[in-house]
């Protein structure tokens, strides 16, 4: 068991899920309530990481993070380190890649709230904020938890993009998934097996949680 890699994977997954949450809440709700013509293009943009090949994503991110690009050089001048091959870099990459996994379940959850409920809340005297807090969020909560769980599970499994941007540096950017790959190459199948089993269990538990929550609604 490559503990360093497990730590990197878990840190990456937890941080990605938590950091994307406020953004996902805001954008998911905005999209759910919007009637503007910009809604469809925006949804397509959100869904893009889902359909793009990881190597394409990885390539673009790598270029954007490099010292010559605006983002990369800005980062370097502010922090003195490079984005590529660093934990911050793979975290940033992970945030980009996981946008659909956070935003979409939250959007579905808010879409599932009948419009009349918000209006009834307003007519009952609740301000927009109070309506959000007391009416909308509790009803959207299962979707929010789904989003967290899905993002977490997906980040654990993310491979191609992380490898390209991070470079598999021990303790810093080598995730559990990459470590499995390395161990297979080194003919260490038993270690690869242990780590794979752990990832499998983590993913299964997380997805089980998601389906358990949405199933509760259906029942």
């Amino acid at each position: 068991m490559d503990w360093a890699a497990l730590s990197v994977s878990l840190r990456l997954a937890v941080l990605t899920s938590l950091m994307l949450l406020p953004f996902g809440l805001w954008l998911g709700r905005r999209l759910a309530l919007s009637r503007s013509r910009l809604r469809a293009p925006c949804e397509a943009l959100v869904a893009l990481p889902l359909v793009m090949p990881p190597t394409v994503l990885g390539f673009y991110l790598m270029m954007a993070f490099s010292g010559e690009a605006p983002l990369g050089s800005l980062w370097a001048s502010v922090t003195g380190t490079s984005l590529n091959f660093s934990f911050s870099g793979i975290l940033l990459a992970s945030l980009v890649v996981n946008v659909p996994f956070t935003v979409q379940p939250i959007q579905r959850a808010f879409e599932g709230i009948p419009a009349h409920l918000r209006e009834a809340a307003w007519c009952s005297g609740l301000s927009a904020w109070q309506t959000l807090w007391r009416i909308e969020l509790p009803l959207a909560l299962p979707g929010v938890v789904s989003a967290l769980a899905l993002t977490f599970a997906h980040t654990l499994g993310e491979f191609g993009v992380i490898l390209m941007v991070g470079g598999a540096i021990d303790g810093e950017t080598r995730t559990l998934a990459i470590s499995i790959y390395d161990h297979v190459q080194a003919f260490d199948e038993s270690a690869a097996g242990v780590m794979s089993a752990m990832l499998l269990v983590l993913s299964f538990v997380t997805i089980g949680l998601v389906y358990g929550l949405t199933g509760r609604r259906r029942g």
């Binding site: 360093a4 878990l10 010292g67 091959f85 540096i169 303790g171 190459q185």
Partner: protein
């Protein structure tokens, strides 16, 4: 709603706690230990070397393996490696000429190419190590399937370049084209070579010297004259720490030389 929260609450708390614990367990220390980049042919030799070094000096190192070409590219793009052990001369010298290195590089080993195949397949004799390749081509031409021939990708891996040279010299490059499968680096090439779909492949001698491979594979050494010598060169990257520099020096020493020889490397003639 409150019912849902009250049942979920303890679950989520437990989950987060479990995560936090496991996430906290291993080293943040990892971030401080110097990182070195090594060619995949050192996959088995280097851990032993590092163990000895750590025993001798008490200092720790982290390694990332890969194809020399990939590692060189990453270093050029700013990857934080302090020492680069290439499987050839050219990549290391490239970095030197780009001014990214500290001090002079050193040739630390000479590698050898082997033909590698799974145990149980007919093994050609010493004098004709490419027999396996010829067998595969013959079988394919006769319509008896597609037995694969693995090698490292010549674009990134010096051992792949050597394999290509060997095949070309024996006039087998074109003929073997439909059967070739490329590994990202020489370790993956070895792995592919042992797959059930493969007749065999070209790997580094240092890999088969390891017990893990020795027990499941047969090999034949390829005569060194059949390809450009695999001179493995290492360089320190600018800003390397004391530990890395110490390791750099240690690798040229006798203890290191002994280990390298055990893994099939030979020392270059003194410069």
């Amino acid at each position: 709603m409150h019912q849902l929260l009250s049942r979920l609450g303890p679950c989520i708390t437990a989950w987060v706690l479990a995560l936090g614990l496991t996430a906290g367990v291993p080293a943040q220390a990892g971030a401080q230990t110097p990182a070195i980049a090594a060619a995949s042919s050192l996959q088995f030799a280097l851990p032993v070397l590092i163990e000895r070094f750590e025993a001798d000096t008490g200092s720790r190192l982290r390694v990332t393996y890969g194809a020399s070409g990939n590692l060189q590219r990453q270093i050029q793009q700013g990857a934080p490696f302090e020492l680069f052990l290439s499987a050839d001369e050219a990549r290391a010298r490239d970095l030197e000429s780009l001014g990214l290195t500290q001090g002079e590089g050193r040739d630390y080993a000479i590698g050898r190419l082997v033909w590698l195949q799974a145990k149980g397949l007919p093994l050609a004799d010493d004098a004709r190590p490419l027999g396996g390749v010829r067998d595969a081509i013959a079988a394919f031409d006769a319509g008896q399937g597609k037995p694969r021939i693995a090698l490292a990708n010549p674009l990134h891996a010096p051992y792949g370049v050597a394999a290509k040279e060997v095949l070309t010299r024996a006039d087998l490059w074109t003929a073997s084209e439909p059967l070739r499968v490329l590994g990202e680096n020489v370790a993956q090439a070895a792995q592919f070579a042992l797959a059930s779909e493969s007749r065999g492949g070209f790997a580094a001698y240092s890999l088969v010297a390891a017990p893990t491979l020795a027990e499941r594979a047969d090999y034949r050494l390829i005569p060194a004259q059949w390809h450009t010598p695999i001179n493995q060169r290492m360089v320190l990257i600018k800003g390397a720490s004391e530990t890395s520099t110490a390791f750099f020096d240690w690798l040229m020493g006798d203890e290191a030389g002994e280990v390298l020889e055990r893994f099939g490397f030979s020392r270059p003639d003194v410069e």
